[in-house]
Symmetry: C2
Subunit: 540 residues, 2 copies
């Protein structure tokens, strides 16, 4: 991203037209344009300076007004919908765009190779403006941007199983994600605690495994959410975490679960309740195959995950049925695990999707995976290099940088003085300091598809969703859009103390814009500091 | 609190009458009864067990129904309003009540010595009930309670200066506070960052010192808030923090502020911006006198605070005006500080209010205070004993147990890896483990009036208010209502592992009730655990 030399004020004409300058614009682009048009005039965010918008009154009087925004598609290909562009393979996404605010005659030009690129440009365009008493204006009227992401995968991983979130929460989150140009919702939809996903092949799974009849994502809900996401340039990667984290399947199908709710849970699982799929059972393997196929066949995206984290071997060692299956088939538990992963990856691949898997499945259990598998590196950022050595593509989701849930103490009932396992709280600064290329060779860099911050919901729910995500998630969004360094090549939060100050100013602006749009992002500073960037720095 | 032997189911008749069985019930009691009556039937909270309310269907069929609640005043005195009872001296509050649910003829009896006691009983009564498909019922139909608080001062300290909160936030918080029987809102209304309080004698203070014209508590707002609080049994202690934490006064009256916004702020203040009242200046002293009197004269309560924390001596040492004043008057800065405190305490006392002061003013600066002063012990719980040695009454507000804002990293712009100064996050377990009598002799115990959890708002705002307070504040509310030990005399979270589990179950119930009533309290556990108390304990 590069901006013009000196800021110059430009108003938005109240008659602003957004023109599509190519044939047959798809309906979802038209809808996106209407949303932009609406937000341009409903946003009431004023600049974060002393006096807010009133500081610009004098300049506003004689400022020129932008009368149109012209959207151009420069590829020459017929326009495909945003949804179609979103659902191409992750490595083939076309998100670049150019925006020139005053390209003569008080018209702005937004051009891209795809409707998805235009959509990214609209997100930028609609956040350039301030409000003062109904007048919309920018201080960067000469802005010219050539913008594209450093990484195609920029995600948010969302656990809707430990506690349930209404559909409206997810839609609001998708909107906010699109404003910071995130490209993936990685949906950790089910877990051992509850099974809120309606599965066509096995409706009993959610009927018996959800917290209640009101806490289920029906097939229609999932379609709605995926469509809503895709229209906003966001791919949905559904994670059916397995073979661990599956106890809730046992509510309907106890025959598939080993060590179900076995006590003490801490011997058999990372968190309560214990329970894993009986991977050695041919019946369970058949169930898993149908289960994955049933979910995959309803998803348009090109990515899907079988999870695979935190498998507990003792659970299977002490399970009579599993031991009998192993003996009968004359295989080891390791063979069975390999076969399970091979099976579910096969289903995913058969549905024309790239399989995702959690890093411990590869690094701890040495399970062989398909060559194009994407590994979710989660335990620690140190694991990235080991995954890269195996020549596997991966995304960064390190608990020591990106976990949104850390730092609020233990949630077990009687572990009074306990910390959260991933203490301390991951500040925006911590997330923002992440280097996607740390410890990687130049040759390994293409293996990095991007990264994501996860919210695990043991201590979260609808009530604090916005405030635990925002604006921290935007810090990671900037890392994966802008890349390993700042645009000028310097490190993001290096020895240059002012880079943190500048990043904070951007994040403060985003936070106030989010609040203006109804997303309850937390304050990062007293407003006194927000209005005076740098003055709350240490030693200032 | 003692409950009956075995739980027995009791429904609430949809015709339930709440009768006042004494002459001339005050209007605020009548209003409280109407709120209770309304909530009894609008609450839709179901028991936190598997199957929720449906688990009780069979028992519900033939359960007896409560047809009336009879309110008795046993003092024999004429009934005073809740507001009047709330505004008596803290040591004279009458909050005890008795509640007998089925006192023959399907009538319940609630009796107390005061309308405030009746109000506390109503808070208990209205939270006994579950909902199942519109039927309201309790599992403790034989409940008999004799209940009273261990400490009269049970507070929440609220900073509305670092970031501003709309009046509606404060009213909602007061409602929730009353549900857990908190008795004091300690209102840290102004600070160095902003001055949101309209002061009759000096309207320019908020006109120039507030963040904006929309971020001011007008006199009417304050009256509304105090009245609303008092009607809910909550006293309001206004803190005019001084002589530190006053930079915002300088926006209108720069002549009263030493080292205003002096750089680097960290030499002259605990946080930006620097600035303290010129305590040696006779003009400033006169200003402070009028300022305190103007605010005090509009407040009905019997308590008021001059704060006094984090005074910075270098600020005055380097201030030419202060040095000139000291020289001219031939006094030391210590003399000036003593005189300042004597002056503002004098104003508070002259308005028939008990003065509150922060503990460092007494322990660090050895400022002499009035005998009946209440000290706010804040730096560490260890300071309580030192205050007690001086024979001063005090409240507990230790940063190492009760600060709601800790653990989210530093908010200074360039201190990238910094922690919050009071790391780590204070969990509900931490707050709940507090012993109000730790390190005190038996003789010193009467000096403890109670305690409070504060929210400092550097990183908080309207957006996360509910979720950062609730339900943690309820843990402290229980500590100061129930006392130093559990009702059976054992320690609250001692070696008995199940006490934590039982406390968590109570807190989970409260959290779900708060959410049901529209307060966005965070989840403490996955719902799986909530529905199975104890099953998520370690080693279970």
């Amino acid at each position: 991203m590069s901006t013009g030399d000196s800021p110059s004020i430009l108003k938005l004409s109240s008659d602003l037209d957004i023109h599509v300058r190519f044939a047959n614009p798809p309906p979802d682009l038209r809808a996106a344009i209407m949303r932009t048009q609406s937000r341009l005039f409903s946003d009431s965010f004023q600049p974060l300076v002393l006096g807010r918008g009133s500081a610009d009154t004098d300049q506003l009087k004689n400022a020129p007004a932008l009368v149109s925004l012209e959207l151009m598609l420069v590829s020459g290909r017929p326009a495909r919908s945003i949804v179609e562009e979103t659902n191409v393979a992750i490595e083939a996404k076309s998100e670049a765009y150019s925006l020139s605010l005053r390209d003569g005659n008080n018209s702005a030009i937004l051009s891209a190779n795809s409707t998805l690129g235009l959509f990214r440009g609209l997100a930028t365009f609609e956040q350039l403006w301030y409000d003062y008493q109904g007048i919309k204006y920018t201080l960067n009227g000469d802005m010219k941007i050539d913008d594209e992401p450093a990484f195609p995968y920029r995600g948010f991983s969302f656990d809707t199983a430990r506690n349930f979130y209404p559909v409206s929460d997810i839609l609001r989150t998708l909107d906010a994600m699109s404003w910071v140009k995130l490209s993936v919702l990685y949906w950790h939809i089910i877990d051992s605690q509850s099974f809120p996903l309606e599965v066509k092949a096995f409706p009993e799974l959610s009927e018996k495994g959800a917290y209640s009849a009101n806490e289920i994502y029906t097939e229609d809900d999932v379609q709605l959410i995926v469509q809503y996401a895709n229209e906003r340039g966001i791919d949905v990667v559904m994670e059916l975490d397995s073979p661990g984290h599956t106890t809730a399947i046992g509510a309907a199908h106890p025959e598939h679960i080993a060590c179900a709710s076995k006590s003490p849970w801490s011997k058999y699982a990372s968190e309560p309740p214990a329970g894993q799929l009986r991977i050695a059972s041919p019946t369970t393997l058949a169930f898993a195959k149908t289960f994955f196929a049933s979910v995959a066949s309803n998803l348009p995206g090109k990515m899907m995950s079988s999870g695979g984290d935190e498998v507990n071997l003792l659970c299977w060692e002490e399970d009579d049925e599993t031991q009998a299956d192993l003996a009968q088939r004359n295989i080891t538990i390791s063979d069975a695990l390999n076969q399970f992963v091979e099976t579910v990856q096969g289903v995913i691949a058969a549905h024309d999707k790239t399989p995702f898997i959690k890093s411990d499945m590869v690094l701890t259990h040495n399970v062989p995976v398909l060559n194009d598998t994407v590994v979710v590196v989660w335990q620690t950022s140190e694991d990235a290099a080991a995954v890269a050595e195996r020549q596997l593509r991966f995304i960064h989701q390190p608990s020591n940088y990106f976990y949104l849930d850390c730092g609020a103490g233990d949630w077990l009932g009687n572990n009074i003085a306990g910390n959260s396992w991933c203490d301390p709280f991951k500040t925006w600064q911590r997330a923002y300091s992440f280097n996607p290329y740390a410890n990687l060779t130049l040759e390994q860099r293409p293996l990095v598809l991007g990264g994501q911050m996860p919210l695990w919901s043991e201590q979260s729910s609808s009530e604090n969703l916005d405030s635990i995500i925002w604006p921290r998630l935007a810090a990671a969004a900037e890392v994966f859009w802008t890349g390993a360094t700042l645009p000028d090549g310097t490190s993001r939060l290096g020895k240059n103390a002012t880079s943190g100050t500048r990043a904070l100013a951007r994040l403060n602006e985003l936070r106030y814009r989010l609040v203006d749009r109804g997303v309850k992002a937390i304050a990062l500073q007293p407003k006194w500091c927000v209005l005076r960037p740098g003055e709350c720095d240490l030693d200032s």
